[in-house]
Amino acid sequence: MLGLSRIGAFFHFIGQFFPPELSWHYLSYLGTPIAETLAMAAGSIFVAVFIAIPLSLVIGTRMPGSALLYAALAAIRSIPDLTMAIFCVILVGLGRGAGLVTLIIYYSAAMAKVFGEIFLAADPRPLDALRATGASRISLAAFGLIPLKLSDAFSYGLYELESAMRASVIVGAVGAGGIGTELVGSLNAFEYRRITTLILVLVALIVLVDRFCWLVRRHPAALVVLPPAGIASVIFCWPQLLAVHHAIDTFSKMLPPHLAASEWHRIPALVIQTLEIAAGGTLVAAVLAVIVSPATTRGIAPGFVVMCVRRVLDFARAVPELVWGLLFVTFVVGGPWAGIFALGLHSFGVLGKLFSESLENVPLGPIRALEATGAPRVAVAAFGKYPLAFGPIIVHALFRFEWNVRAATVLGLIGAGGIGEALFDAQEMFFYRQMFAYLIVTCVMVGALDYASRQLRKRYRVSWEAIE
């Protein structure tokens, strides 16, 4: 009987989320947050491209100081995006302005770094030939690097646009405006039906951006809408105030970073817990993704099954880790398990998509040869597609782990534990010097992992083409 009443309670609980609130009053109110979220994403990527391209060419042509620049970009990128958002809120106040500035800084650094890596990975032979003609660094970039690697950089840029869309929801969680701020408000007030509405809006927005990127990949001419949209977005989000004094005052309170001896002793355990959450989430996601992979791959499962399962993946992916985390913490379970499930669900969506793409993009030759022997579909998959896609699948999972370490620190905000929680606790109590110390630890941890993954990539010669 106990079991039955529990099941009843569960359905009662789920029932509270339905139907989503769709009153005209609420929907018209949501117009501004939706516009803010879209504008933060579009505006930041638009500005970031202009900052990132020159910086990445400095790295790509190995100009003097490029190593230093690279290190600085890696350091900026290793700051959790929520912490960056808090810094920006200190500087320009609450609202969409802070969100825009956060995302511009974050994506300028991220794109400059990856564009730089893409340029460094360019085929050296045509570049040597150009150098032999006595070409300057600028003409080397114009005649060599850019034409050679434009399409790679382009496809990574689009990938970042999708990523910025999710990030613009995340930064909202600390009051930087948009859907994220609304969602946190509704969660705190237990407005179940509005939560459902907001999640649906969020999924719709991400699907919209995803479709736009898909369109641009096929018809690059569609990109012409981005500059006017970008300019309009920047104007719409432009910060209303610039509290330089306040910011200097606050930032100076962070110096010098300081931790008590007892806090120092906790650091290894905190770092290990963060790594555990990331590893747990990645493992959950990878196992789920491998299990569903036959059903998501054209050529293994029938077309309509692939269509249906992929929509489930799209949904899991569209909801950012932090939002999954907020839902888990509020309604299911708290602590590290919330972190693991949150990372696991979002990464399941990502890895499921990447695994099915890896399985579809295996070299055609061996697959045709197997089909020509009259082998049934499943045998072709087992003897051809899976062995051939094994390498990319492992690489995707490792990259996801690296990403998840970063994401796990952000999940500290919701009390998932690890170094992130220590960081956000210190920040909430205005212990700025501790906060800064934890931030440095976080950056060192993320930076070390980034370095390790780069060495791994160099060793196995995996570049962005293999990831995208």
Binding site: G365, G374, A379, F383
Partner: protein, 247 residues
């Protein structure tokens, strides 16, 4: 016996025919070389024989089976007796040599059998792979990784895989295009000898007319979708064609 009657292939509905009412007959054990310029339709011809290219009109038959008319399981069954060797890159490089060789048996094995073999191969199965490798001179590479092999060795593994199919017809699409001249000659000789001794019909496209004349019973020149028999042939292959032109 392989028989192509009046086959026409078009890649777009109103486009030019890639193959235009082409005829070809080949006996068991007969070795036919296809020569001709790039884009003339040699690969399309080969791929229409195992129905990986669908034909617009005409008939393809292997033995008693009308390949151009069967679908699904029946198609897979006849395909399991039509082996195909590509120019290169058609081995699964993450599998070992014996796994690649016995992939040739997937057409007659059940799916469950195939999966079990991947995890737990039986001695009898390994013996079958060793026999096939023996006939291409690579028995010692049974458990090697495919990536450790040279180009010529990889091509011989592909031939061993074809032999495991017990093929009625063996299709080879420029099997030596990525090999050096000496290895090319060895691989072609091996293919032709095996076809003769095992009474397999061998249809092989080639870029080198001299190699074609040296090893094959018959050389057919394909120009703009038509088959033209090169003199010194045994049987006429394209009765509709005008007098043939030397190549």
């Amino acid at each position: 016996m392989l028989r192509l009657e009046d086959i026409t292939v078009r890649y777009s509905p109103n486009g030019q025919a890639v193959l235009d009412r082409l005829n070809l007959v080949a006996e068991p054990g007969e070795r036919v070389a296809l020569v001709g310029p790039s884009g003339a339709g040699k690969t399309t011809l080969l791929r229409s024989i195992n129905a990986s290219v669908s034909i617009e009109s005409g008939k393809v038959s292997v033995g008693e089976v009308l390949v151009s008319a069967v679908r699904g399981r029946a198609l897979r069954q006849i395909r399991s007796r039509i082996a195909f060797i590509a120019q290169k890159h058609d081995l699964v490089d993450r599998l070992s040599v014996y796994q690649n060789v016995l992939a040739g048996a997937l057409g007659r094995w059940s799916t469950a059998h195939g999966l079990r073999f991947l995890i737990w191969p039986r001695t009898s199965e390994l013996d079958e792979a060793r026999d096939a490798l023996e006939s291409v001179g690579l028995a010692h590479k049974l458990r090697a990784r495919t990536t450790e092999l040279s180009g010529g060795e990889q091509q011989r593994v592909a031939i061993a895989r074809a032999l495991v199919q017990h093929p009625l017809v063996l299709l080879a699409d420029e099997p030596v295009a990525s090999l050096d001249p000496e290895t090319s000659a060895q691989v072609l000789k091996l293919l032709c000898d095996l076809a003769k001794s095992r009474r397999i019909t061998l249809i092989c496209s080639l870029h080198q007319p001299d190699l074609a004349r040296r090893y094959f019973d018959r050389v057919v020149r394909i120009t703009t979708g038509r088959a033209v028999l090169v003199p010194s042939s045994l049987t006429p292959s394209a009765p509709r064609e005008r007098a043939s032109v030397p190549c």
